[in-house]
Symmetry: none
Subunit: 466 residues, 2 copies
């Protein structure tokens, strides 16, 4: 968008900022949501000390939008608006006096520099800038089921599409009676649901697999919980009218790119069987913790398959296709499976439900704790069933039953805590072990597999008792 | 960090951007990592079209850092550096000409400029910069029970204390067997609970009271919901050992200041009766939506009295005192009550439980909607009981029953939605009316009272059908 420099000056005796009500009005006028309503983006504003002169650097479609937005300032004094460009723009065009360069027509995407900078400022541990992958810092978790959107882990395979909600469509086609092309408004007009769902990357914990496997070396923080709001998948399928021959539902995102072993770009696409789609409480989500989905989490619409590893929860959803056979695609059949040796043969088990797991959030690894009262806290979850209990063990002591906080959760993690005492100074190893209501228990060590998926082994935390 | 406006001009014939090498040097000089090396933060930069003039808005520890960083530009032409501040800073100080507010040595406080700027950037509608009061924008609510901390409404009576968690103590004294002085660590070592609680300012909706009353003119957005994590009040009282003669529990915050009619500063302090403390599920909260309490919401510890108007939920808690008589204090007995005329006498009813209320979040007031499908959505809550139902009426049509989303909530708002149709173009007035399980129903018009509290009247939303 074109850039402008704006200058406003007023007389000291009529300084609007000296009147609390007028001042507050101007501040609200400058607030981001209000600025946006005028089709303007504020880059920065500054008032010269003691001179009653304000400079703004803004973006807008044109000078008229800027003049319209600045009208309250024009009433209070003088106003000058100068068309401008960035230094990079000037240099790339060949000087301050040269004219504009043409726009890039390729798929609009979030600026990787900007996205990465934001993730770092929000406190994520960034593994890779492009595609952007970052995990949460476990000791930063303090109670609460949901996590702030800015601190939710980020997992991308390609660049982050920047879709326009006004022109975006969700196509529903294949074996359906009424193929659909739904606008954003159509989706918003369908019945809404909100669900608390924990998403976990199938590669979470990969960094402790021995021998090392390829793939992002996630520690433990590729997991987060949010309250997702959207339309139940079944509402959309019902309107489309799924035909009796249908077997699988394919979800296609707007993200794509080159991968090893393929000469042309692959799409990010995944499928669920009809029964999985029917019984998984899958949501097509447009909001995350009460805010529109952030770009990096799939704006404007993403799939949320509760209790599954997050690979199933396709972001930037643009297409649902109903087919009569199992789906084959790179992220469906060439990745996200575990090889098992069965009677000398290799059998592939696709990555589906999240395995039972606990994390210790407190105390922090390698911290020192005082002798006396000690609290061990954390979260636990399992895709197959609610958490039955969490046991905690200090050094070679007995397994102690932790207290589960709040009601049992079906699709999201559950907090637990153990109030205990440590009396002996020195090293202390704390272990936590979760079990679910279907009898699954966290293993002592990970089941190694080629791509390093589904590592739900115990992860001891070492502290020093002073 | 101090803010500066920088202006650089050069002659057209020596335009550095016209020389590719010199131009690239300047761009690299302006890159974020390089800027940061000079101890400078770039807020924005813009070159005036055709004028060979660059403006930068930057932050730096001092003017010397800016001059040092700008040296390559000074070589290419002129350079002017002006000390500046943000618009929020100017308004919170009382005008462009006013000087910095003096620091208060007694009580470190959050910089009002910084706090106000943050609130504005986060999208709050700011009513006053100092003390900072801001409400949420209702049409920005999209599903989800909790709201992001940054978008939670802010209500202050005085400046915002900036307490140090390491030296902070919670004193528990008065009629107790074991007076306590609890450190942050002591509090963290007690059993934790998380609760979803809606807080609402007693003055929410005051702006529609006729005749006008004094006090912040809140529209409808002085209400928000969070998941609070902390220690049940009863855990602390149990450890202190409340004596049989105890009648009331006083909560004292660290905030204080001058109020009308009092010559010396008053403290922010409130009380609950022993029974209210026992049965209200009151929490001493240190986390909000999984993050440490933000400064403006009471860091490090605040009271959360579920279902009560938020005045009871004392922030920056430093003291709990147990007494044997009703408590008298400015915010307990001189404010936050409603006058009733009973048999010619005036009776004061203290502000306690939130009255039953609904908000329409969608469609937005004064928006235009298309003929055909229409969704009306919103939230509803009542301090006395869960919401029984919400009815919606379009123009003079019948009251239609909306659908409640999710489980019934005890202490937090509940989403509802009505999927309907509008066929007639023109003005449409949408009304929503909530009822709770104890039979309370929202009134058509507010009960006027001197301070403008507890206005839970219907609030029609006007839209235009195209």
């Amino acid at each position: 968008m074109p850039l402008f420099i704006v200058r406003h000056q007023h007389a000291p005796e009529t300084c609007p900022a000296a009147d609390p009500d007028h001042g507050a009005d101007l501040l609200n006028h400058l607030s981001r949501p209000n600025v946006r309503k005028h089709g303007v983006t504020m880059r920065a504003e500054a008032v010269v000390r003691g001179e009653h002169t304000v400079y703004l650097i803004v973006e807008a479609a044109g000078q008229d939008q800027v003049l319209d937005f600045m009208a309250p300032f024009a009433l209070a004094g003088s106003l000058d608006v100068y068309p401008a460009s960035t230094c990079a723009g000037v240099v790339s065009r060949g000087g301050c006096g040269a004219s504009d360069a043409p726009e890039d027509d390729a798929m609009p995407a979030l600026d990787p520099e900007e996205a990465c900078q934001q993730a770092i400022e929000d406190g994520l541990v960034v593994h890779r800038a492009h595609p952007l992958n970052g995990e949460i810092s476990i000791p930063d978790l303090i109670g609460g089921i949901v996590m702030p959107n800015a601190r939710f882990y980020i997992r991308n395979h390609f660049q982050i599409p920047k879709l326009d909600r006004e022109t975006w469509r969700l196509r529903v086609h294949g074996l359906v009676d009424n193929p659909l092309s739904l606008s954003w408004r159509d989706i918003a007009n369908l019945p809404a649901q909100s669900r608390l769902v924990t998403l976990e990357c199938a590669g979470n914990g990969r960094s402790t697999m021995e021998p090392k496997t390829s793939g992002e070396q996630w520690n433990l923080g590729a997991v987060s919980t949010a309250e997702w709001t959207g339309v139940p998948l079944l509402e959309v399928l019902q309107r489309a009218g799924v035909q009796p021959s249908a077997q699988h539902i394919v979800f296609r995102g707007a993200d794509s790119g080159l991968v090893d072993g393929h000469s042309s770009p692959v799409l990010f696409e995944r499928s669920l069987s009809i029964d999985e789609a029917r019984f998984s409480e899958t949501l097509l989500a447009y909001a995350m913790n009460g805010e529109a989905l952030p770009l990096q989490h799939g704006f404007p619409l993403r799939v949320i398959v509760p209790s599954w590893y997050a690979v199933a929860s396709v972001k930037w959803l643009t297409e649902i296709e109903v087919i009569d056979r199992p789906f084959e695609a790179f992220y469906q059949t060439e990745r996200y499976y575990i090889d098992h040796q069965v009677d000398g043969r290799v059998e592939r088990e696709p990555v589906r439900l999240q395995r039972v797991r606990s994390l210790i959030t407190e105390p922090a690894p390698h911290s020192s704790v005082e002798r006396g009262e000690l609290v061990v806290r954390g979260v636990a979850w399992s895709g197959a069933a609610p958490i039955a209990g969490v046991k905690v063990k200090l050094n070679e002591g007995p397994w102690l039953e932790a207290r589960l906080l709040g009601d049992r959760k079906r699709h999201s993690w559950q907090w637990w805590e153990l109030l205990t005492r440590v009396e002996v100074p020195g090293n202390c190893v704390i272990r936590a072990r979760a079990a679910d209501l279907d009898g699954r228990v966290q293993p002592e060590s990970p089941e190694w597999n080629h791509f390093g998926y589904c590592n739900n082994a115990l992860r001891p935390v070492h502290v020093v008792v002073r």
